[in-house]
């Protein structure tokens, strides 16, 4: 069986599974559509949350992000997991006790203010829409690479599958497909990782192999990697090269942003009890950690593996010859991935060899010239996504593993897309239609409008995925910035303080506006190229990059909210009672009837 058929089989089987779940888990009420009837077991919800959270970026790009930068990009590992501590301790149990359907509904009720609710809805929709664009393009790209169809066809197939389970199943359908998608993606991620760890270190657990010894040389893996990348003129893998203050702030912004992303928070509305919400956050992090503890190992090992393929006898030996690349089966993957445009090489000095090194480093350049390998890096195109995507081929694994990776990449993108689409559609149908425009809407018509909102959201996301705006790559900063600067502080103050309506609105708006302005100043106004006054290499304030500004925005939000709240009337009696009741777990069951 050829590779294409195997890929088709794996992807086809996984899609059939998702559709089967969609037919089984149809939503019959708004409670089922928005919160899966609040009957999801905490472990099941943890698994669904993990799939909801881990996107195409986590699956495909994160290992590469870490591999090519090393220690400094540990920010992603700490930031994207540390947020769950904030979520578990500061938000999830109380929002579950509150017992409504959307994040913005809590903000509207707690701050007795339709304006606050509207600001929250706008932040929620902007953050989720920008985030979903990346998932939809990810679906198209994964299809394009593994199934030899065009990106457009791939994206449309993905949209139809999401439509099937999200429109009919709502949160209920999405929950159980996310569980299936988690299983597919974690197998697809860890199986190749186990093989590469065995090959390089003899340890079947990649996370332990990372700190183990490199079997071929007997040296510790990380010293070996440090040594070879240093000799080739790259920054040492384990060294700290960037700015420390920005690193702290970026990590904090990712943590606060993670805890404030609505599509993650709303997953905790689906468990039966407050105590379940607490456990469930822990289970979510267990399932996330399985991938996040593996990712840095995949990154380091794949980088060492690839670098050694180009320098079979080390950096002081000879670079690999063109003849070897063309004839040795161990280099077949290079031919395959050259066609995708993710890898490219050129024998610039005509010596029949491909020398891979950092030609921006004067010492490395001089050493290469002296050795006779030329003065230019000949690996002209080296996309970091290759580390995960081509890993099974580089490690010479059987064809079914490659098929599994294809299905895993799609599972990661689809599960996150569905969670985001659910957040968008429930905000539209529950907060805007039911909450503001037609409050007397019946349960049945609200369910219908939720389905229609979902269908429209899928259509819009598909359109944006096919025609991604030029700023698509910048939008992660935007989504995290908005969540950190507006949503997280509002929720936290709603639970832990007696901040009033005016304080909350002023805080959210100022956090939001300042963060947006700071991002626009560095990335261009509305992301239009060349309208920026500063760059992230030389930012406006000290060393604070625009991607790290979410934490500052959050601090501004808190400060403004407290100040304004102090100067205006205290919260009414019934809101004080609402705060008291949210803090106490007893009575959460009663809220299920809402």
């Amino acid at each position: 069986m050829d590779q294409f058929t195997i890929n088709l089989l794996f992807v086809g089987a996984s899609f059939a599974l998702y559709i089967g779940i969609a037919i089984w888990a149809r939503a019959g009420s708004t409670s089922e559509f928005y919160a899966a009837g609040r009957g999801v077991h905490p472990v099941t919800n943890g698994m669904a949350t993990a799939a909801d959270w881990m996107s195409a970026a986590s699956f495909i790009s994160m290992a590469g992000l870490i591999a090519f930068v090393g220690y400094d990009n540990s920010t992603f590992l700490m930031g994207w997991t540390g947020g769950y501590v904030l979520l578990a301790l500061l938000l999830a149990p109380y929002l579950r006790k509150f017992g409504k359907f959307t994040v913005s509904e809590f903000i509207g009720d707690r701050f007795y203010s339709p304006t606050a609710r509207l600001v929250a809805v706008i932040c929620l929709i902007v953050a989720s829409v920008t985030y979903v664009i990346g998932q939809m393009t990810g679906v198209g790209v994964a299809f394009g690479r593994f199934l030899e169809v065009s990106n457009t066809t791939g994206l449309l197939i993905g949209a139809v599958v999401v439509f099937a389970y999200a429109v009919f199943g709502g949160m209920k359908g999405v929950t159980y497909t996310q569980v299936a998608q988690y299983c597919v993606l974690i197998l697809a991620y860890t199986i190749p990782a186990i093989f590469i760890s065995l090959q390089l270190t003899g340890n079947p657990i990649p996370a332990l192999g990372l700190f183990g010894d490199h079997s071929a040389s007997g040296e510790p893996l990380l010293s070996k990697l440090d040594q070879i990348v240093r000799e080739l003129g790259f920054g040492e893998y384990t060294a700290h090269n960037g700015d420390t203050f920005n690193m702290v702030l970026f990590t904090l912004s990712l943590m606060i942003g993670t805890a404030g992303l609505p599509h993650v928070i709303m997953r905790f509305f689906t468990v039966p009890k407050v105590s379940d919400a607490r456990w469930s956050a822990g289970w979510a992090l267990v399932f996330i950690a399985l991938l996040y503890l593996t990712a840095p190992a995949v990154g380091a090992m794949a980088r060492l593996n690839i670098t050694e393929q180009f320098w079979p006898n080390g950096a002081s030996g000879e670079p690999v010859s063109l003849e070897t690349i063309e004839s040795d089966p161990a280099y077949d993957w290079m031919q395959t991935w050259q066609q995708t445009g993710l890898l490219g090489w050129e024998d610039k000095n005509g010596d029949g060899r491909i020398a891979y090194f950092n030609d921006g480093n004067a010492d490395a350049k001089a050493a290469m010239e002296a050795a006779g390998w030329g003065s230019a890096n000949e690996l002209t195109n080296f996309n970091r996504d290759i580390l995960v995507l081509a890993n099974p081929e580089i490690a010479n694994l059987p064809g079914w593993v490659i098929g599994l990776v294809a299905a895993g990449g799609l599972a990661a993108a689809l599960s996150t897309a569905a969670g985001l689409l659910l957040a968008i559609s429930s905000a539209v149908s529950h907060d805007l239609l039911k909450g503001q425009l037609t409050p007397d809407m019946s349960e049945k018509s609200e369910l219908l409008s939720a389905r229609i909102a979902m269908a429209v959201a899928i259509a819009v996301a598909t359109y944006l995925g096919l025609n991604p705006p030029g700023f698509a790559a910048q939008t992660v900063a935007l989504a995290f910035g908005l969540a950190a600067a507006s949503i997280f502080p509002a929720l936290m103050m709603g639970i832990f303080t007696k901040v009033n309506n005016k304080g909350a609105v002023a805080g959210m708006v100022s956090g939001l506006v300042v963060t947006l302005i700071y991002i626009f100043l560095h990335k261009g106004w509305f992301f239009i190229p060349d309208t920026n006054s500063f760059t992230d290499a030389d930012p406006l304030l000290g060393t604070i990059k625009s991607t790290s500004f979410g934490a500052v925005g959050a601090a501004i939000n808190f400060a403004v909210a407290f100040t304004v709240s102090k100067m205006s009337a205290p919260i009414p009696r019934e809101i004080e009672e609402l705060v008291e009741s949210v803090r106490i777990p007893r009575g959460a069951g009663a809220a299920q009837d809402h």
Binding site: M78, L222, S275, R278, A590
Partner: protein
């Protein structure tokens, strides 16, 4: 729902306050550990820990790439266990 909670809140006003301050104390301690292990050991205090070798690198690197995640996990499960116990002690758990 509101009526039920109001009554029990009035009856147990004092113990509810005690429950909440105990909760806030547990959260504060947990967040201090959270910050020390990630921002501390993983980033700011890494130079201080550079003498402690771990598999070809130092302890700070391990905390940044693995240790912090393991500590986060332990914290969340500790908090869930401790709070579910606290709920029972103050009689505010769900039936």
């Amino acid at each position: 729902m509101a009526d039920h909670t109001t009554q029990s809140a009035q009856a147990g006003q004092k113990s509810d306050a005690g429950y909440w301050s105990a909760n806030v104390r547990i959260i504060l301690v947990s967040l201090v550990i959270w910050a020390i292990c990630s921002f501390g050991f993983g980033i700011l205090l890494r130079p201080m820990l550079s003498g402690i070798a771990v598999g070809g690198t130092d302890l700070g690197f391990w905390f940044a790439q693995q240790g912090s995640i393991i500590v986060f996990l332990a914290l969340i499960f500790f908090y869930a266990w401790r709070m579910n116990k606290l709920d029972k002690e103050y009689g505010v758990d769900e039936e």
